[in-house]
Structures are given as structure tokens and as C-alpha cells.
Symmetry: C2
């Protein structure tokens, strides 16, 4: 099977190199921007790929919604299988792309868009065919995990570990998509769509790690707890979907606490299989490229879809999921939270709430911040 590549950045170069070494897979043209086509294997004309009958599949590793969406649509229309690593694209246009791929009878897989090297969506899609999945989630953002791990290990402040992550290439110059939880949210949207055929488009909540301080970390560690940024989703008996991202605190010995540096952990719970956890590198040239090549192998073996038939948009409802929360805020805001236990130093209060809904907690925090009040919160694992 011969695959062309759209994009020749970090992941594209990895895919190009791996395709040259993989038996049974060949590399076709690489699509780049005009002016960047400085070698015979590169082209800036998409038509050369679309019209080449020897190219069976196209790997999209450009990132971003446009022009990736237009290009991927054109490739599917031309009867090419598509493998993408682009979570923004699939979160925004998964419905249309899935419908087009089914209509054309070609494969559309995107394991690399969620969990990097971890074969998460691949296994989830396979599990769905014979098991009922009740929850999905995990540590899906390596940048924030690196930062949380460093804050815990060194006692560093947030700003220092962010700078360190940027120097090491784990965080971008504008880190907001990572540290706000938006990146993890896009990934859990894809997992919901694979697990339940519902792509959540509204009602999603994401709390990142931007409010975390070294003092919070010292406080958790004193209680033997470790903070991780978790994406969580589940479905109720009556089909109500919940999906959100928030910091969570885990006791020592929980699998989440063994996820170090920029590693990811993805998990799902099937009624029959029970808990399945997968750990590995969530980003990087070769880890991500390895997921792309796995998808190509999977297409070669006959698999076509990752989303179940009948995929539809859905709203998330986070009003029914209850968590106990660690909250740190100013004393004058304390009355807003149903604290079960509280420590008060006259300015700052830290406490653990009685169970409150995810929706209420995220909304309360958002309201406080609008009033200029600081708050950090993290759910406790119960």
C-alpha cells in the first residue's frame, strides 16, 4: 500500500522515514506549501496526489482545521483512504468526514489524534463492536503532565515549569490550548464519538492547571496525593453523555501517579472487559508516526472505520456527575462551597467539599474568576 503525506513537519518527517522502512507500505508524494517543494518527492499540487492511481492512502499530519479539511475531503472524494493525526480537524469535522469516507467505501482512521503512540482509539473502536463501554478518559495531554510531574518532583512554581517545558519543546510558545485543558478536551470528544457514536459539541467543561501553585502541590503532597489533569467521559443508562477535563488528586499507588514526564494514560471500562488502561508516549515524532503507520496497517488488513455507524452530534450534560473537590480560594468566597472540611489562614481557605456536580463546580469557579477572585480546584478520586 502506497501512502502520500500531507505536511512535512515533525510528524510528517517521522511518517516519511517509517514508511521507507516498513515492509508492505510505501511512501508516495509529500504535499508541502508552494516554495517548499525543493525535492522530487515533494509537491505543492494536491492534484498530483489525487490523480495518482498508485497512491492508495493519504496521511494528513498538517494540523489545524483549514486547509486540512478541504484537502482531506478532496482525498476521500478521490477514493483515497485517509489516516489523520489531527484532533482539531476530527473534533470539528468528524461527522462530515466519516460520512464521506463511508459513502466512498474508503478507510478513515485517526489513532494518532488521541494518545500519540498509545493505541487508544484503535482498541476502543474494536472493543465497541462486542462490549458496552461505560466510561473513557485518562491523562491525554503530555505537556501538562510534564509540568505537574515537575512541580511535584521539584517543588517548582507553575511559571518555572512552563518555561522548562517550552525550552524542552514539550510546550508551545502559546501554551494555552494545553494548559487550559482544551487539547485534552478535543481528545476526549474523539473518544466519546468512538465509544458511543456521539460527538459532543456543546456543554463541555474544561478546567486546566493555570491556577495551580507550588503551595497547592505542597499541600497535596502533605496528604500523600498527586495531581494529574484528567479527561473524563461517561454515558448514563438513559444515554446522557458527560465529558469534561479537570485536575484530579490521586493517592500514591494509583496508576495515574505512575505516569511520569510527558507520558499519557488512556483508559476505558467495558461491561465485560472491565478496566483497560494503556500508557505510552502521547506525542513526539516517532511515537506519533508509529500510530499513523499502525492505522495504515489496520486499513491494509481490511479495517475501514473508527467511528461506529450512525455517528451524530450530541450535547454533554455534566449536571449529574458528582465529585468531592479540593478547593483553594479566598476566605470571602468560602461560603460558596459546601465544605466538609476546611483549613483557614484568614486570607486563603483550602478545603474538601461535599459531593457537588461537575457543572456547578466549573460554573462557580468561572463566576468567581470574573469577579477577580483566585480559585484552584481538583476532584478527588472516590
Amino acid at each position: 500500500m502506497k501512502a502520500a503525506i500531507l505536511g512535512f513537519g515533525t510528524v510528517g518527517v517521522g511518517v516519511y522515514e517509517m514508511l521507507q522502512a516498513a515492509p508492505g507500505l510505501d511512501v508516495g508524494l509529500v504535499f508541502v506549501r508552494p516554495g517548499k517543494d525543493d525535492a522530487p518527492f515533494k509537491t505543492s499540487e494536491l492534484d498530483r496526489i489525487l490523480s495518482d492511481p498508485t497512491i492508495d492512502a493519504v496521511v494528513e499530519v498538517m494540523g489545524g482545521v483549514e486547509p486540512a479539511y478541504s484537502y482531506v475531503s478532496a482525498c476521500l472524494m478521490a477514493g483515497k483512504h485517509v489516516v489523520s493525526s489531527n484532533k482539531a480537524l476530527v473534533a470539528a469535522h468528524g461527522l462530515e468526514l466519516e460520512a464521506l469516507a463511508r459513502e466512498k467505501g474508503v478507510g478513515f482512521l485517526f489513532s494518532a489524534a488521541c494518545g500519540g503512540a498509545i493505541p487508544f482509539l484503535h482498541n476502543l473502536a474494536l472493543a465497541v463492536e462486542s462490549d458496552r463501554i461505560v466510561s473513557v478518559g485518562g491523562i491525554l495531554n503530555g505537556t501538562t503532565n510534564f509540568m505537574l510531574d515537575a512541580m511535584q518532583t521539584d517543588g517548582s512554581q507553575y511559571a518555572d515549569v512552563l518555561r522548562q517545558a517550552q525550552q524542552l519543546g514539550y510546550a508551545e510558545a502559546d501554551p494555552s490550548a494545553d494548559v487550559s485543558g482544551l487539547d485534552a478536551l478535543r481528545k476526549i470528544m474523539l473518544a466519546c464519538a468512538v465509544a458511543w457514536g456521539k460527538l459532543p459539541v456543546e456543554g463541555l467543561l474544561h478546567e486546566g492547571i493555570e491556577s495551580l501553585t507550588a503551595e497547592d502541590v505542597a499541600h497535596f503532597m502533605g496528604k500523600g496525593l498527586v495531581c494529574r489533569l484528567l479527561a473524563s467521559a461517561s454515558i448514563s443508562e438513559n444515554g446522557k453523555l458527560c465529558a469534561f477535563v479537570q485536575p484530579m488528586l490521586f493517592p500514591a499507588g494509583a496508576p495515574e501517579t505512575s505516569v511520569k514526564k510527558n507520558f499519557n494514560l488512556a483508559k476505558y471500562h467495558g461491561v465485560n472487559s472491565g478496566d483497560i488502561l494503556l500508557m505510552g508516549q502521547g506525542a513526539g515524532r516517532y511515537p506519533t508516526a508509529s500510530a499513523v503507520l499502525r492505522d495504515l496497517s489496520d486499513i491494509r488488513s481490511g479495517r475501514r472505520a473508527m467511528f461506529p455507524a450512525g455517528l451524530a452530534a450530541a450535547c454533554a450534560d455534566n449536571a449529574e456527575v458528582l465529585c468531592r473537590y479540593y478547593v483553594r480560594t479566598e476566605r470571602k468566597a468560602a461560603a460558596l462551597f459546601p465544605f466538609a472540611e476546611i483549613e483557614d489562614d484568614n486570607v486563603v481557605v483550602r478545603g474538601v467539599t461535599k459531593p457537588v456536580s461537575v457543572k456547578l463546580m466549573h460554573e462557580t469557579a468561572s463566576r468567581l474568576r470574573k469577579d477577580g477572585m483566585p480559585i484552584f480546584f481538583a476532584a478527588l478520586e472516590d
Copy 2:
């Protein structure tokens, strides 16, 4: 796709129930021993399955080498896909069964034979197609993990946790295959065959947990270490295979220490993907049945083989892998070990050796035991 089932024990009943609920999969006849065919869906005549053109696949969940081998061979000969959960069968006759399945163009998958619900062999087989795997391994026996976890948690003696495991149905009346490491060894043999096309048949070493005492556990815990039974295999640049099972000690925070009760952890390292770890339930009715159904789905999607083409028998050579070992033995045997540090109470010595080969360590222990001398050893993670 309609699947018949050979065997109606714990896993067989789970497969039967799951097949009735899975869309796109149907259940055919269930093969049982004469006299047990007390319902219309059961038969004790294999020919009724072999000659039924509506049966596409056969699930073998009988266990044991014979008559499973004869029956599975007959099913493949008759052009049926086969999914097996039987590690003893695949370890003993994988070569012949693989060759027969390829000749007949049918699928032969056996994810459930290694790791239970964990999609280990499935992902390994897929990874092999585009990545170079350099090591495989993990905690592949749930019985011993339950026992080790209980000894660590309660400070119990070996005999007490074995009895507890038997009462809970985690250990068999004759637990020797589990506690000696033989069960884990059979599973790592399958992983070697999937990863490298080499089914190791000679030179394998397995040390179980039968010599572990509550005093050893107290000693490890004092040093912050946790004992797990690890199966390990790797391949050198020049194609030399090593494969063995032995207790290992891990520091707190290592993923292996988060594997509780009878859970399993399987891992592989690919040159491109890096470390991939998978955790889940390694046994039980529905977890194992879920792996069987995943394999059936995989066959339905077009996948045929789990072993790579050109599978061959191989010898393991454990002379070149070096480990530092924790050793507890009698004082008079201490001179046999190159201790780097040692604690001596005049009767028993406990110490950590300089790096020694796996082969030498296992052989020395075996020689000592022949002389009636007690010894426990566990490798340190370096």
C-alpha cells in the same frame, strides 16, 4: 459471522452469552463432551460443526493440549477461522496451527491466551508490521500478582495467601503452573513468537514465587521496594533471543507497583513507539470472553494472522542479560554470589549482587536447591 464454541466452562459460557448480545456476531453450536449435550444448542459431535456451512469461525476455550489440538486442526482443515484462549495449545503447536491456517487462508488469533482482557498480542501483532520491537514482557499471571499484593498489603505468609487465592477462585487446587512461573512463561513464549516470529522452545528459565517469605517482603518494604513476578523477553542486534520469568523488585511509583490484586500488565518497547504499557484483568469469564470477541471482530474486519509470516522455533539464550539480584540464602552458600552489599545474621544472608547473568543466577539457585539449601532471588529494576 457465526461462531461455534469448543468447551462450555467458565470462558465458554461467557463467550456464549456475549455472542448473543454482539451485533454482527452470532453463536453457533457449542461442542461439549458426550453426555453433556443436554440442550439443542450443544453437541458432542465435532462433525456437526465442521460440516455446517453457516459456521464461519470456531472459538476454542477447552484448555489443555489434547484433544484441543486435534479439534482445532480439524476446524482449520475444514476452512473455519479459529480463535483460541489456550496458551498451552498455542505454545505447544503454534507452528503447525499457523501453517495450517495460512494454507487454508483462514484466521487464527489468540489474544485471550496472553493477558486476558488486555489487548496485548493484538497490539503487538499490529505494531510489528511497522515498528521494530526490542522487548516484551510484564506481569502476565494474575494468581501470583494477587498473592504478592496480599503479602505486601497484609504481611501474610505465602501459605496463607495461597489458601486465600484458592478460596477466591484465583488459584487452582494444584497451583504449581502459576506459582512456579510456568504459566507466565507460556504467555511470554507467545509474545516472542508474535513479536519476532520466533517461538522459543528451549533454554527458557522460570523462577516463581514459591520461596518468598513474609520476612523477605518486610525486608523489601523497608527499602521501599515492591515485588512482582515478571516475564521478560528481548532480542539482541544479532537475533539472539532471551526469555525468562523471575521475581523483580520495583521502587514505589513504578507502573508495575500500581498493578493490584489479580490484574496484569503487559508491555512492549518499539524503536519508534517507545514503551507501550497495557493493564487490565488477566483472567475471568467476561474479561477473557471479551478478548475472544475482539479477535472475532478483528477477523470480521479482515485480519487473519497474529504470528508474522515465517514463524519458526528458536532457542532462548539467557547468558547475556545481566541483572543485579536481591538474594536471600543460608550463610554457608553466600560465597557463591558476587555480593556488592550484604546483611548477615549468622544464619541467613540477604544481599544485592553485582550484575550476573540471568542464566547463571537461575542455575546457581537450582543447584543450591538440589543440595537442600533455601534461596529466594529477585532482580532489581535498573
